[in-house]
Symmetry: C2
Subunit: 407 residues, 2 copies
């Protein structure tokens, strides 16, 4: 298939370009390198060095034998976006070209407005560009499990049925979108996207898979390895550890490596979320791409994660693996920078991807964590250099002040 990846220079986007090529797909890329500048704005840097896009594309060529077409286009440049899509006529478009950070969006009014505009308007342009230039293509839209929040009930995959006693005396089972209750401007931008994508499917007959993804962690996928089974450094993907663009497990591993206490938020730390390794994310996205919706107008939601874990559980796993690396990892409890519940019911469904054949790469995350320590130990000095980025300062209520350790 011809697959266009929007955001192909990112953590997931670059990995997906490799993985899909490895699986025999023809990949096209688009990015405008904003992720690189956002992370610099956070006074940080990817722990694993990544080269310029030219170096990456050379590595790609040497591995897969063809030059991936790549264009530097902003999602807000509608004419160029249309031209590119019309040129390459993709069968599938994977939309990873959003600003993916809750803390960044909570930094202040300008960041909030930027994230909202970048994500919502970018996606709105994409929907129009698809209607005009690729109405039969399959849009794989990256959302987040965070769209659902933590309601006091089981979370379905996008839709649920309620029993309605109507005023006219009829009792009906009515299918409704499951109400979203997000927890940051970023997460809300993703909710708004989800609604907009569904609406475009309804009125224009576009087809889309909206991926509610859990939190991704990990440094490797097999497609980064060259012919000799060794990782080609040019094929590495970035790994951020700052408070805004680093995700929790990736951050914990980096903290462990430089001897910083793992920053569990809150005294209890039982915030529970869905998680999956990078390689599982690639497997799942490929399953969605390989099994497109059959009908024009079909909009479906996949909850994409391997399993749910609490933050404290994650910290203990990272501690345990870190100690195997002789690191003497400490777990710290810090003031919560976010407005979120620390202990709650959490049971989201995730059957759709299993129905398509998703096989989690490992039953526990210990093997993946070992690999991460193995990969990241090498870059201890890079992480140390940006150590200030390891502690959160952006608070949901508006202040910017390092959170204090509670215990």
């Amino acid at each position: 298939m011809r697959v266009l990846i929007l955001g192909a220079d990112g953590y997931l986007g670059w990995s997906l370009a490799l993985h899909l090529s490895n699986e025999g797909h023809m990949v096209y890329g688009l990015d405008n390198f904003m992720r690189r500048s956002w992370v610099r704005k956070m006074n940080s840097e990817t722990a694993i060095p990544v080269g310029s896009i030219q170096e990456r594309l050379q590595g790609f060529f040497d591995t897969f034998g063809y030059l991936m077409r790549f264009e530097t286009i902003s999602m807000e440049d509608y004419p160029q976006l249309c031209q590119y899509i019309s040129d390459i006529k993709p069968d599938a478009i994977v939309h990873l070209a959003e600003c993916p950070s809750a803390p960044y969006s909570m930094h202040g009014v300008h960041e909030a407005a930027f994230v909202m505009r970048n994500n919502v308007i970018g996606t709105l342009y994409l929907l129009h560009a698809m209607r005009e230039n690729a109405p039969d293509a399959h849009l794989i839209k990256l959302g987040t499990m965070g769209e659902y929040g933590t309601p006091d009930m089981d979370i379905p995959e996008g839709f649920f049925e309620v029993s309605a006693n109507r005023l006219d005396g009829q009792n009906k089972m009515v299918r409704l979108p499951f109400p979203r209750q997000a927890g940051s401007w970023y997460h809300w931008s993703k909710v708004h996207d989800s609604m907009n994508v569904k609406f475009a499917c309804d009125i224009w007959g576009l087809r889309s898979t909206d991926i509610m993804q859990g939190v991704v962690y990990g440094t490797q996928i097999d497609a980064m390895k060259g012919a000799l089974g060794l990782i080609d450094p040019r094929l590495r993907t970035r790994l951020d550890f700052d408070e805004a663009f680093g995700t929790v497990i990736n951050r914990f591993v980096c903290q462990a490596i430089v001897g910083h206490p793992l920053t569990v938020y809150g005294d209890v730390g039982k915030q529970t979320r869905g998680f999956l390794p990078l390689r599982d994310s690639m497997q799942c996205l490929t399953l969605a791409i390989d099994n497109p919706p059959e009908e024009a107008g079909e909009y479906r939601v996949f909850n994409q994660f391997e399993n749910t874990y609490s933050v404290v559980e994650l910290a203990e796993k990272v501690q345990s693996v870190g100690n195997d690396f002789d690191l003497n990892v400490e777990i710290g409890h810090y003031e919560k920078p976010r407005t979120e519940v620390e202990e709650h019911y959490y049971n989201p469904a995730h059957q759709h991807l299993f129905d398509l054949g998703y096989k989690p790469s490992s039953a526990d995350m210990m093997a993946e964590l070992s690999l991460m320590f193995f990969d990241l130990m090498e870059y201890k000095d890079r992480i140390k250099k940006y150590k200030d980025a390891l502690i959160p300062k952006i608070r949901w209520r508006g202040e910017h002040e390092e959170v204090d350790r509670i215990r």
Copy 2:
């Protein structure tokens, strides 16, 4: 109370400035006159002439004895917005400064992006400006009944309870936001606003009443009358009849006056919605302002309409009153420009405003319609001049082509 009206030059905003002043409130205005230019862009004009803001403010001064402070500020000019709010320290802010047109938002990619950005980002700026400068003020946010769409069940006021059988064996009643299923980019922008406003209340303790308003019609409110009980022309509000900014009853009356068939969409025409006269809208908004949420962080939703009517019913009422004016009104059925269901269950709750004392101004709409004919007959020639605006051309599926008459 000190009330800041955002969008004070508009159909509702200007009327509200008069009504609130009449009720003894101290009113402040903000607008950047975009409504005037949008309507010109639709090749139309308000049926009832309105003067420049200077003329309007002079009329206001002569009637109420004080000069209403008014600033020309765009909602996207954050520093100016903050400065104004910080200067006047309003007790209540009524947010009417959005682009209020479904067809306009469906015209094409640029209009869709404009409406989405203008409304969602404008509101996001406002929320931040309130947090920084007026955290205790009461935000009255104009949403629309269209946010709910037409689900096959009773529509509550913003929230509903569902009975959840959880995996852990517990059965819980869970309160959830009622899922929105809007029908245009405009309506979705309002949904996104609603979610963003609620989130700001949750995390920052703002307080807000989110008004899901039905479709407003009418030309008069009592506050437009001077000391002698006569309407002061300088106090008139605009009345649009083009396909984008004219609402259905206002359009029907204008069509009847120039001898154009009333444009019912679809063969059946039983699309049912909530409606209310302009004077009831003013009464309800004042009730919300006079009864603010008591607690910081409170977000409440009012469904604001007098009653529900189908489009065919409305056409028949307009026909009946028009015929009393010797107009020989014809009802026409046209292709549907919109993607919407023509016949559906519709039973929205609207108890909150009745609980606060809302008294509909009349039991049927005939008296109000008579007044509208009386006011608008005078401007028959103005309406005739822009007669092309009376037929819809913007279609939800993307084309721009006048809809054909079916019967």
